[in-house]
Structures are given as structure tokens and as C-alpha cells.
Amino acid sequence: MFLSLAWRNIWRNPRRTAVILAAVVIGVWCMVFLGALMRGMMVEMVDNGIATLTGHLQIHRKGYQSDPVIENSMRDPGPASKALQDSLPAGSHWTARVRVNAVANNARHNAGVTLVGIDPACEAKVSFIGHAVAQGQYLKPDDDYGIVVGQALLEKFETKLGHKLILMSQDTGRQIASRAFRIRGVFHAQQRATEKQFVFVTKAAAQDMLKLGSGISELSALLPEAASPQKAADRLRGELPGAYEVLTWPQLLPLIKLYLGMMDSFVVIWYVVVFVAMGFGIVNTTLMAVFERIREYGLLKSLGLKPWGIIKGVMAESFFLLLIGAALGNALGLATVWALSYHGIDLSALAQGAEFFGMGRVIYPEAHIKDILTANLVVFILGLVVCLYPAVKAARFTPVEALAHT
């Protein structure tokens, strides 16, 4: 009875209700959609970061993170491998890498690169490189002189598949080691910077060239989706002696972590800003509805309705208004996300700009429960709070002044 009265009251002035609903619907729609867009951007950024030779967690010899040079490599990866084997959840993949700074040369050009020695089979399950080779072929395990380079590097060096590329780096004896490789494959990455930075050879080739023996720079692991990198890292720390450091991706990618934090607060600020914009409308409309019905409230009061009853009535109206608006807004928002999630939003026109901000070339919006809940909570809680003002106003009219009002 009380709710149905509120419901009917909303539709006493359908046009007014429609206009304020439009404001709420557009507001919620944009909150949901833009929230998903930003979440998509963040997820993309994180995924990209994790796939670009980071993984969910890494094990290094202690000190490697702050000074990633060959002296700080793990001489014997055995214990760390075993720890991974023992404590990572089923479905995890990991791989060992050699990673050093190097200089790449050919007859005409030279540039600084990161030389990565990989175990081709294991690596393919952990990082992007396994499915990124667009020309030629991926490394074979026994290929001691093959190298896979990025498209951008290939262009910069004015070279092509099958040609030679010489790599120079410091070996464990602090001598300059150099070796000529042949370009077997060319990979494409989300960012040109990645294509310019990394060159891949087999782990054995790198170890041989750098006189590393069976040493490696890092072990990188990818966990199944549901597993928590933090927990896995804690378990690993328990198993490994202090000579190792176990780092999770937020520690490995501190900038991305910072960026995520900033985006998170930005999303909430944006929600509140949009809410304020529609909040003025909600208060105003409710206030108008209340003032139009002063006589009615007077009558109800003289019939014995308590002020609290009136407050409840007004709040119920606002609640319905918010409910319809939020329902439609969420539906539209999710529909937009769904429509765009297949092909994504292509930023190729601004590719360099996107790269500048560390984003991929295509953004796929992703609706996360958390974001949608936050948006709706902001709308409902703040919506009801601001409607307290007209509600209390309505409850304060004394029957006599209400009935005298024309």
C-alpha cells in the first residue's frame, strides 16, 4: 500500500519523471561503460605487462632486482626450480631465462637491446613470444645461432629474415662476448618499444656465449587464473633460503601498480562527479514534487500520518526513481560493453599516443562486478542521502500551513 502509493506518485507527472530518469539513466550508463572501458585499459595494461616477460611472479638471486646484471644471476637454478615444482598450484607454468643488456650490430646499425635466452617450449606457455612470431619461425630448442627479433628492430636495422645480427655483451668474466646470430623469426608486439627492446635466443646459446654454465637470470611463473600470486610467493619464500628473492608482478611492475591505484581512485572520483551532476536534478525534481503536494501532505498529516511516514513515502519515491534509472542505465551500459567487447575500440589512429601511456592499440571494455557495484552504490547511497532534504522538508509542514498553501 505504502510502496504502491509511492510508485503511483512517480507517474503523476510522467514527463517530469521521464526527464529526471533520462539524467539518471545517462549517468549510470556512462558510469558503467566508462568504468568498463578504463578497467579494460587497465587489464590490458596488466596483461601486457605480465606477458612481456614478467609473469605473475619471478624468482631471482637476491639483489638482481635492484641491479640486474650478469653477476647477480643464479648459478644453479635447481633448488628454485624444485621449489616451484613443489609449491605452485596445479596448472601453473614456469620457465627459466637468461636476461642481459646487450648491443646488437649489423653492418650498418647498432643499438642497445635486451638479450633474452629462453627455453622455447616452456617460454611459449609463459610469455607472449610463443605466439607472437609473425614471420619466419619460432626458436627450435637446439638452434644455437638462431635469433628472433621484433618487427621494429628489423626495420631499424634495415635487415631481413636469414640475415646476420651480432650481439655483444659482458660475460661472467667481465669480458666483452660477442656472437653472430641469424634472424630466424620476427615477432610483433603490442608496443613498438617492446619490438625494439627484446631479442630472443635459446637459453643454451645465451649461457654458452656469456659463459654462464647452467646459470640463469630469472625464473618466471604464470599461475592459473584463480590462484593468488601473493599466496604462491609467500609459499615459495617459505621454501627457499634467503639467497633468493621472490617477487610478484606488482613488485616487478611498480609503475603499472601505481597507475592502477591512480585509475582506481580516478574512477571513483568520476562516479561521484557524475552523481553530483545528476544529484542536483534529483533533489530539484523531488523538491518540486513535494511542494506540489504540500496540501496532500497536510491532509495526510491531519489524518494522523506521522512525519516519519512522510519521509518514508518521499524516500520510497526516490528509491523507485533511482531503481528504474539504475536498472535501465546498467542494462544500457552492459549492452554497450557487450557490443564493444568483441571487436574492441581501435586506437590505431592514436597508436603512438596510446603507446605513450603504455596502452595497447585496441581496448576491450571489461565489466567487472566490483566497478558496477561501486557505481550503483554511489548512485543509491548518495541518491537517497540527497533526497533526505526534500523528504524532511515535506515532513516539517504543519497541517495548517500545508492546507493553507495554494
Binding site: I176, L255, F280, G281, F291, L350
Partner: protein, 410 residues
């Protein structure tokens, strides 16, 4: 004041609560836009200035294709001819000559492949901030043939300190081996990680000798008195380039030198504008009801005025004047508040607390929003137009009104 105006003004305050709320919504949108646009423009300016001051300068004269290929054989054969011309260009404040080569740089402990830059110390100090960001040791003296400047991060990576030796091994312009030993004279820190770990600076003369440049250089870098002067200076330089064949010379401005920065700014601006449009649409719908209601609830009154012979256009004018007053008050208040808030932060600066992150984008230290006519006026102007449209929309009703029905309207 005419009766029309007085009527509009008094009508405005018939429902002061509603009017104030509506004006607040308008003002809110204006404050937000003024502040956010000032913020964006301010940070862009900082980003551009930092990048320009630390690295690229406003204009480069260099061999065609050098920018893309960074091939050390693409040189300016006669730097003097170019600097003479650059000096004469209008708006140019200072210029310097640079030569670059990629080389292996080793300390006793470590070896890194990095960019070695030959600079003219006296001129460089006037073009870039390099001299002022030397935190340890000193800047290069003119004629110092074995001194080098090293970025803070690179020094860390190489494990060198002031006075330590660096061995540089590279390839000369003619393909010969270039080898030399340098001493660390100064360690600088720009706050931009990339810059601080990717290059060392040495004297131009010594560079030219070691890399068999035969007097050639790679870039003549010019800085203009202001960003506005760049286009003019560029046009002059392009028209007066000294003849050089194979490769020819070209002039590049900062936008061409840092396409990523420009596109990044464009992207930030575009996404900002999308946010603002959405916000404005929500605000517009939010205040549309006020205008709708103020016409609906006066239907009876309009009927009477029509009976007296007032035509819809006349009543429309009245209503529009009313909404215009509300609009102008809201926009005005919003602009004043927006300007004050922006101005406060323009003086105080804003600390986002994410220094490492901002440094990535060339923002070192606080962000200072920059109030300009553009940031002050453009947002509120759009708010004004949208509000005006929201106010005009319900006036259509006046033309459908018939006096008798209007007077019977409850």
C-alpha cells in the same frame, strides 16, 4: 529596468530553492570544466616544456631521415653554415650543435650499450637544462676533451662515481673503430628515468675527433622564445637551409621530434572531452526539469497573458530572459569560483603523490594547472549553450497553448 526584465528577474526568485539548485548545477559544471581544462593544459605545457628543455629543443636541423634511422652517416656536413642560418631565424633564442653515436660504454665493472652525445658546453647550457641538473661534480668546460657527463641511473648501473674512467667503444662515421677513454666530470638527474639512464654527454670537439666526423655533426638544436614563435622560425629555416646533397637537410619541430608526446596529449584531451560531454549531457537533463516545470506551473498565467493579447513569441522571450538570467548567474559564479580554485592550485601546485609515474610523462614535481582564456571560457561557453538549449526546448509548449485551455489548466 524594463518591465520584461523585472518580470523575468522576479519570476526567477518565485522558487528560490529551485533556482539556486539549478544555478548550482550550472556553476558546478563550470567550476569542474575550468579547473580540469586548466589542469590538462597546465600538465601538457609542463610535459612539452620538460621534454623540450631536457632533450629535443623546439627545432632541429638535421639530415633527412636521421630522425627515423639514427644512422650516424646521415650528417650535417657543414654545421657552421647551418648555425649561421639558424641564428638569423626570427624568434630563435639559442642554438647548439650535437653529434650522436651509439657505443659500448664500459666502466671497470660493467658495460652498457648507450648513446654518446657530443655537445658544445657553452651553447648547450643556453638551450637545455643539462647544466642546471648536474647534481654532483660540474658541467663540462669548453675545451674539455676527456670529460663526460653521466645520468644518475646510468652511473648507478655502471657503478661509477666522479673521476672514474669510462671506456667508449664505437664505430666512426667512416666505419672505423672509435675508441676513447673519458672521465666522469658530472652526474646529472633530470627526474626522467629514460633520459637518466640512456646516454652520456661529452665535448663535441672530442667526439668529432674520436668518431672521425671530419667536422660534421648530426643536429643543430634551436630553442625559441616561446612555443608561438616555433612555426615562424621553422618556416624561415626551411626556406633558408644551406644546400647539401645526399643527404639533404630538413627542419623538424618538437611535434615531429616527439610524435608520441603530441599524440599522447591529443589522446588525453580527446578522452577528457568525452568525459566532459557526458557530464554536460547529465547536467543538461538534470536542469531541464527546472525549465520544464517553470513553464508548466505557470500555464494558467500564460493563458491569462495570452488572453490579454500577448503572443507566444513574447512569452517565449520572457521565459528565455528568465532562464538566461539563471544561466548567466550560474555560469558567472562557476567561472569565478573555478578561476579562484584554479588560481589557488596554480600557485600552490598539486602533488599527486605518484612521482615515479608522473616522471614517466615528463612531469617532475608538482602539477601546476594553468588558467588561460581558453580554459576559463571554453567550458563555461559550452555549458551556457547547452543550458540555453535546455531552456529553449520547453518553450515550444507556448506555441501549442490555447488561452482557454491554459486558463483551465490546474
Amino acid at each position: 529596468m524594463s518591465i520584461d526584465l523585472r518580470m523575468a528577474w522576479r519570476n526567477l526568485w518565485r522558487n528560490p530553492r529551485r533556482t539556486l539548485l539549478t544555478m548550482s548545477a550550472i556553476a558546478f559544471a563550470c567550476v569542474l570544466l575550468v579547473f580540469m581544462l586548466s589542469w590538462q593544459f597546465g600538465s601538457y605545457e609542463t610535459m612539452i616544456n620538460t621534454a623540450v628543455k631536457v632533450q629535443t629543443g623546439h627545432l632541429h636541423v638535421e639530415a633527412a631521415d636521421y630522425q627515423d634511422r639514427q644512422d650516424m652517416r646521415l650528417v650535417i656536413k657543414d654545421p657552421q653554415a647551418v648555425t649561421k642560418m639558424v641564428q638569423a631565424a626570427p624568434g630563435v633564442e639559442a642554438y647548439t650543435v650535437r653529434a650522436n653515436s651509439f657505443a659500448l660504454v664500459s666502466s671497470q665493472e660493467r658495460t652498457y650499450g648507450i648513446l654518446v652525445v657530443g655537445i658544445d658546453p657553452a651553447r648547450e647550457a643556453k638551450v637545455s637544462t643539462l647544466k642546471s641538473i648536474v647534481r654532483q661534480g660540474s658541467f663540462l668546460e669548453p675545451g674539455d676533451h676527456e670529460g663526460a657527463l653521466v645520468g644518475r641511473l646510468l652511473a648507478q648501473n655502471l657503478q661509477v662515481k666522479l673521476g672514474d674512467e669510462l671506456t667508449v667503444l664505437g664505430q666512426g662515421r667512416d666505419g672505423s673503430i672509435a675508441a676513447l677513454v673519458l672521465k666522469v666530470r658530472g652526474i646529472y638527474s633530470s627526474g626522467m628515468d629514460d633520459f637518466d639512464r640512456s646516454s652520456i654527454q661529452m665535448g663535441l670537439q672530442a667526439f668529432q675527433d674520436a668518431f672521425t666526423m671530419e667536422g660534421a655533426a648530426h643536429q643543430v638544436v634551436a630553442i625559441c622564445q616561446s612555443l608561438e614563435e616555433v612555426a615562424g622560425a621553422k618556416a624561415y629555416m626551411a626556406a633558408h637551409l644551406p644546400p647539401q646533397k645526399d643527404p639533404g637537410l630538413t627542419v623538424l619541430d618538437w611535434k615531429q621530434l616527439m610524435p608520441g608526446l603530441l599524440q599522447g596529449i591529443e589522446m588525453d584531451l580527446v578522452s577528457g572531452i568525452i568525459f566532459y560531454i557526458i557530464l554536460l549531457v547529465v547536467v543538461t537533463f538534470s536542469i531541464l526539469n527546472t525549465f520544464l516545470m517553470s513553464i508548466l506551473e505557470r500555464t494558467h498565467e500564460f493563458g491569462v497573458l495570452m488572453a490579454m493579447g500577448a503572443k507566444p513569441g513574447r512569452l517565449g522571450r520572457l521565459v528565455v530572459m528568465e532562464s538566461l538570467a539563471m544561466n548567466l548567474l550560474g555560469v558567472g559564479a562557476g567561472m569565478i569560483m573555478g578561476a579562484l580554485i584554479t588560481w589557488y592550485f596554480q600557485v600552490q601546485g598539486i602533488d599527486l603523490g605518484a612521482q615515479e609515474l608522473m616522471a614517466q610523462y615528463g612531469i617532475v614535481g608538482r602539477i601546476y594547472p594553468r588558467l588561460s582564456w581558453l580554459s576559463l571560457l571554453s567550458g563555461p561557453a559550452v555549458v551556457f549553450v547547452m543550458t540555453l538549449l535546455a531552456a529553449l526546448y520547453p518553450t515550444r509548449r507556448l506555441w501549442k497553448l490555447r488561452p482557454v485551455e491554459a486558463m483551465n489548466y490546474a
